[in-house]
Amino acid sequence: MPKKFNEATDQKRWIAGAGVFVILALVGFLSNSYVISLMTIVLLFTFMGQSWNLMLGIGGQLSIGHSLFVGLGAYSVAVLNIKYGISPWIGLVVGLTIAGFVGALLAWLSFRFEVRGIYFALLTIAAAEFARIMFSGWEFVGGMQGMFFQAPTGKTDILMLRGDARFYYFVALGVAAIGVLGTELISRSYLGYVWRAMRDDDEAARALGVRTFRHKIIVISISAGSAAVGGGILALVQGSIFPDSIMGMGISVDVLIGPVVGGLGTAFGPFVGSLAAIPLNHTMSAIGDSLGIPGLNNIAYGIILILVVWVLPDGIWPAIVRLYRSIPPLPRLKISQPRKVEE
């Protein structure tokens, strides 16, 4: 029986993935500090985008409030480290647990009371805004003034997750690689099959024995937990957190723009999308500042989103894959025929 039908394409995918990883590692060694800090953000949003992508692209559940989970992760790391001097590693685990639990609770409540689809998405916004306002008024976590990490000494300390920009770049590269690999492994496991079935048709999936209620909670919980890990590292990279920036709608948009632009439900989409969107955002923001037009970056975001949805509705990555597949094995010259003159 031809069971291992996709081994050849599989091998190519692994090689391509490893190749990208090696190139990105080289970027970390060779680039200047501007490129490195920009790419650190790209990689972190790749990871967070991947977590969001798992939820919508494979699980079929839309969240527009992922800043809730990002923020919970960031605050877990910040509070434990700044207030108690506890290692961010533990902060990350705590953040993952809290966000995973909050995500599961939100999903349970929502689906228990039949709040689904777009209404669930609205609920995620409400929950994220609620958390942002709560954290803004909570003095223990710094309120509106936020919290600041100790200024980095520049010395690398893996146990305390401290180091220079290059160190954080490799941390971000590590989690991004784990994110891509994790998504790939999950989508190949039975979870990937039943989640995609649930995404495409809830009723049909249930008729095939898929416990969709349970699986929705699981996928949202995993997505929330991993977004929190990204948020915790983002907080360390930025050196400070404020409720408006780390828990605001802006983060939710930044998280989802990568996978939407890059390709929903794909392993590489969030990376390609973040790579396109975040540098654009930064550049436009800088141009806007110099021209005295604040918010130019948001306009650019809007335009790129419209363009992608219009021209490449599947996202950039699937378009690249199609293009690659359409290349014939041997390059052939297309000789254009002279146009026939109509009589």
Binding site: V194, R196, L208, G209
Partner: protein
């Protein structure tokens, strides 16, 4: 032979409309039973009540002696009752094989096991050679058979088929009939909701006739066709057995 499924006084009303009214029947193992009746007779509602897709207003459904009415559809499936839908529902951007794998995850978490059983399911409905095709490349009869294969992957004891032969040409329907007969030879019990009378007469060992939500006849195809109430309400004057 014991009764695999027993439906007792099943009733379901939607507001003032009684879609299924006090229907009782039972299925014997290893046979094909057909549920027939004119449009709006309550066949699909009856079907959905058994499969757990709808809650009952009253009445019981016993499967292997256990009460199963008002259980969730996924739990009913895991107990051994698989169903297909009248409108085919293949999962997009999954191959035929992957579609057929989903059902297997109700009893295994191993992707390899699922792939094996999915192949077996596809083979038993004659789709194994199209395992790696995308579902949108399939013809209508193939899609209908894929629905059956998806259901088979859950390893059911009872298969509920909702109009698998609707819209098929006679030769295509004959192919489906052969598949169904083969499945029952391997011990599967089938409950068929069907419109195509000629085929029902050919494959079913028992026919249950519904009309306006109530059962008006039950028996062998020959008996049912001879029943004056059935002739009157369903088959009309134009039908000659």
């Amino acid at each position: 032979m014991t009764n695999l499924l027993e439906v007792r006084n099943l009733t379901r009303s939607f507001g003032g409309l009684i879609a299924v009214n006090d229907v009782s029947f039972s299925l014997r193992g290893g046979r094909i039973t057909a549920l027939i009746g004119p449009n709006g007779a309550g066949k699909t509602t009856c079907f959905n009540l058994v499969a757990g897709a709808l809650r009952t207003t009253s009445g019981q459904v016993f499967f292997e002696g256990r009460a199963i009415e008002n259980r969730r559809p996924e739990d009913v499936c895991r107990m051994g009752i698989a169903r297909t839908f009248q409108i085919v529902r293949p999962m997009r951007d999954m191959t035929v094989l992957e579609n057929a794998m989903v059902g297997a995850f109700s009893w295994t978490t191993s992707v390899n096991d699922a792939r094996d059983i999915a192949y077996d399911s596809l083979e038993s409905v004659g789709l194994a050679n199209k395992a790696h095709a995308k579902t949108d490349q399939l013809t209508l009869p193939d899609r209908k058979m894929l629905e059956t294969a998806k259901a088979l992957s859950t390893r059911p004891k009872l298969l509920l088929l909702d109009e698998v032969m609707a819209g098929l040409r006679p030769t295509e329907a004959a192919g489906v009939v052969r598949v169904l007969q083969k499945l029952t030879e391997n011990g599967l019990t089938i409950l068929l909701v069907e419109h195509v009378m000629r085929i029902v007469m050919e494959v079913a060992s028992t026919v249950v006739v519904l009309h306006h939500g109530a059962k008006i006849a039950e028996g062998s195809p020959a008996d049912v066709v001879a029943d004056s109430k059935v002739l009157e309400s369903y088959l009309g004057a134009g039908f000659h057995a």
